[in-house]
Amino acid sequence: MASDAMPSGQGLGMQAQPRGASLRKDASALLRWLSGAAGIVLLALAWELAPRLGWLQPQFFPPLSAVLARLGDLAATLEFWGFVLSTTRTWLLGLTIATLAGIAAGLAIGLTPGARTYTHSTIEFLRPIPSVALIPGVILLFGSRYQSGVVLITYAAFWQVLLQMLYGLADIDSVARDTARSFRFSRFGYVRHVAWPTLLPFLFTGVRLAAAMALVLAVTAEMVIGSQGIGRGIVVAQASNATVEAYAYVLVAGVMGVAINLAARALERRILRWHPSVRTAGGER
């Protein structure tokens, strides 16, 4: 009898609690979603009405509907998708190279005794150098080809990834490290089973920051150097006084940025499902 009552009681208790909690969680998520949507609708309304009511000059601030209509026209052209594709290619290539280089350099510095202290000043000197300082150099090397953008992105994104790798390496649990040493882990085993799980969340933060920065630099390179892409579209539209089209391209750049952020966060949550920082991160406080 008692053995029957125990599990069923336990089962009830376990069911009742999450149900109430999840209901409240659902309601709170719905509320958050609704207020977020309200914010966006409000912004869209302001953008539409301000020029129409004459608060802003329509030739400088075209209403949202005009921009969206133009965007619809653009989306039917092959040129537009070519722009989107080249910007994406530059972004992806630069980010991938920077991530791989950042991981390699981070592990090399982290696993070589003393390397961190000797490289510290050099990293601190090179990191704040704005990547746009490389623009004239890459123009000389690659002209207006897309590789110019790839080099700029790689330089800027590399430091983001490397820095997070170094933070992560400093964060490795000393007990875990000493345990691995007592068990005579090989160097590869140490990296795979001790360093890598600690590094992964840091690496993701670095890549997420780098991804956003890479898009900025991809657009910058297209605008300043003139390689094919969204940035080039903005500049050409502005030079030919096509205000609405310039806004449409800026909107596309913003949407790409949002998509990159959302994708990076979703990926982070998925791959780091096992990690405490993701597991315990419940709703908003």
């Binding site: 400088f60 000797y118 704040p128 150098i129 903005i234 310039a246 800026v250 952020n261």
Partner: protein, 259 residues
């Protein structure tokens, strides 16, 4: 006494000195038009940037940067505080802010040129409009994450309004706000250079692009070097500011780590 200090200096300078020597030696016999010897670049550097150009190009750049950056700091914190303090406002504003942050700030340069022309006002606005987002978002995050126990303590003692802001909210959010300010500064420098490359008669960005277009290659590299030093110097200044402003915080963290 002196030994450890000397050793530390050696550690700091060993790799940079090695790299510099390597670059110097490797480029010394360079006949490549695009990559002149480092010695030539350094000569040009002292002739150009330690001379009148420092006042006619570096100082105007610095002024624009500071004007735009300070504007971004003030506006970012002023807007971030109410958004961070009110949950309803935060929920409504978050997606909108995410969108604005995601727009590459350089993309608005052509739009601002259409509205404001090519003057300094446009450049200052560009710098402010790009640097504000990390400051604003980090202020929101910092205010959101204040210690709940301290929050309730404040409430118990009826500390409200400005006193609460001044003695509780701002100090506890300041480490996060300063992270945002550091990010904002590097974005600001990038935007300063780009906006000058687009449209300016003076400034670092316009000087570099001028040298590049007129194929004065050693001069161009000396400008790149100047820009690198400019970024480095500002990040040093900022680190000094951070150390001063967050001395209490780093001290606290240090004590916590010791225990």
């Amino acid at each position: 006494m002196i030994r450890p200090a000397l050793k530390k200096l050696f550690i700091e300078l060993a790799l940079p000195a090695l790299l510099f020597a390597l670059l110097y030696a490797m480029s010394a016999s360079s006949t490549n038009f695009y990559f002149p010897p480092l010695s030539t670049v350094l000569q040009k550097f002292s002739a150009i940037w330690l001379g009148p150009r420092f006042f006619s190009d570096v100082i105007p750049s610095l002024e624009r940067l500071l004007a735009g950056y300070l504007l971004a700091c003030i506006a970012g914190v002023a807007l971030g505080l109410p958004i961070g303090l009110s949950r309803g406002l935060r929920r409504a504003a978050e997606p909108v802010l995410e969108f604005f942050r995601a727009i590459p700030p350089v993309a608005v340069i052509p739009l601002l040129i259409m509205v404001m022309g090519f003057g300094d006002a446009m450049k200052v606005t560009v710098i402010a409009a790009g640097a504000i987002w990390p400051i604003l978002l980090n202020t929101v995050e910092g205010v959101k994450a204040v210690d709940p126990v301290l929050d309730e303590t404040c409430r118990t003692y009826q500390i409200r309004g400005l006193a609460r802001l001044r003695h509780f909210i701002l100090p506890s959010a300041s480490p996060q706000i300063i992270v945002g300010m550091r990010l904002g500064l590097s974005i600001g420098i990038v935007l300063m250079v780009i906006s000058e490359m687009f449209a300016a008669l003076d400034g670092l960005g316009s000087a570099i692009i001028y040298f590049q277009r007129s194929y004065e290659i050693p001069e161009m590299w000396s400008g790149v070097l100047m820009l690198g030093l400019f970024g480095f110097a500002l990040s040093m200044v900022f680190r000094g500011f951070e150390r001063w402003a967050l001395a209490w915080y780093h001290g606290m963290r240090h004590m916590e780590k010791k225990n």
